[in-house]
């Protein structure tokens, strides 16, 4: 049976949609093994640990020294970079293949602009929430910006990671719940998390506590989600046979 022009056009539209979706697959492939999320989780938890040490140590402790913080962050980033590289080289590439991404000058700027827009949106939402709902500056005014920042974070997560894997929507939901829980926590609890000595002079214990809770919870979620992805990846893939291609 000959296909009519409408069916032919439908086929071509489908084909065009498939092309666009295929062109996005290499970017989503970056986290096929969960390594992207594991890296993010380790980074957030590393920052959380450093912040906790700062919050719970005297002002003259080494955790408050800039050089110690710089070494901590440097070692953490190096560990994440080389750890991710080792997993990719020894596990991912032999199982599902190697990809080298295009180096686009614009990408660095794009990330910078995205970061700026995120910060602005979070600040705008916090400002709008405070003025619209008349949130006072003592507690709600402290936890709300952190919670809203989390929600903006979730949007980026959904856009870049969750759309490739259906169960990651549950992870995004967990992030939203965490943001809401942080915003709802009593002032005393948040203040306790912030410790007795605020790491940054301009931040109150409660602001610091809200920040610490945020990065700890999100770090843990990323780590668990990345770990599950990694285990599933290992289960469902095998190293390729060493035959000629």
């Amino acid at each position: 049976m000959e296909r009519g022009p409408v069916m032919q056009e439908h086929d071509e539209v489908t084909k065009m949609n498939q092309i666009e979706s295929l062109m996005k697959r290499p970017v989503l492939y970056n986290n096929i093994d969960g390594v992207g999320e594991l890296g993010m989780g380790f980074m957030l938890l590393g920052f959380a640990l450093l912040s906790w040490l700062q919050a719970n140590s005297p002002r003259n402790a080494i955790w408050h020294r800039m050089d110690v913080c710089a070494v901590w962050v440097g070692l953490m980033l190096l560990g994440i970079h080389y750890g991710s590289k080792a997993i990719k080289t020894h596990i991912t590439y032999p199982r599902t293949g190697f990809v080298e991404y295009r180096k686009q000058k614009a990408r660095g700027w794009l990330a910078f602009v995205q970061g700026g827009v995120t910060a602005l949106v979070a600040a705008g939402l916090a400002f709008a929430a405070r003025s619209h709902w008349d949130i006072d500056g003592s507690h709600w005014g402290i936890t709300t910006p952190v919670a809203l920042m989390g929600l903006v974070f979730v949007l980026f997560y959904m856009l870049h990671i969750a759309r490739a894997v259906p169960w990651k929507w549950a992870v995004a939901s967990a992030m939203v719940i965490c943001s809401v829980v942080i915003a709802m926590l009593p002032a005393g609890v948040v203040g306790e998390v912030g410790g007795s000595t605020s790491a940054v002079a301009t931040l109150s214990e409660r602001s610091f506590g809200a920040w610490l809770l945020f990065i700890t919870m999100y770090g843990a979620i990323f780590l668990i989600s990345g770990g599950i992805s990694f285990v599933l990846y290992l289960r469902h893939t095998q190293p390729a046979a060493e035959t000629a291609e």
Binding site: M16, I19, G97
Partner: protein, 98 residues
């Protein structure tokens, strides 16, 4: 023949074939990828994928580099400038035709 049908008829037949279109679309988004990655994404068997790659190489749309990753042979594939241009034209014509 109406304009739309004519536009579709003018499409690059090397790229328009579904298997090759998948390969070109995937390679267009990366600097280079290996054979295993394309096999994983396209779910084609080695023979079929090799045959499509040969056709694209003949048309000078892709560059094939045989190398080693440690002791394991690795085939790296990338779109040539000509291939990128042909794919960009293909997409443009497809959009015009729809």
């Amino acid at each position: 023949m109406n304009l739309k049908t004519r536009r579709i008829a003018e499409l690059d037949r090397v790229i328009h074939e579904p298997g090759r279109l998948m390969i070109v679309a995937l390679l267009s988004a990366v600097e280079q990828a290996d054979f295993l990655y394309l096999q994983h994404e396209t779910e084609m068997n080695k023979g079929t994928l090799s045959s499509h790659l040969s056709r694209l190489e003949e048309a000078k749309y892709i560059e094939v580099v045989k190398t080693y990753r440690g002791k394991i042979p690795q085939t790296l594939l990338s779109l040539t400038a000509e291939g990128r241009l042909a794919f960009a034209q293909y997409r443009r014509r497809m959009k015009e035709a729809l």
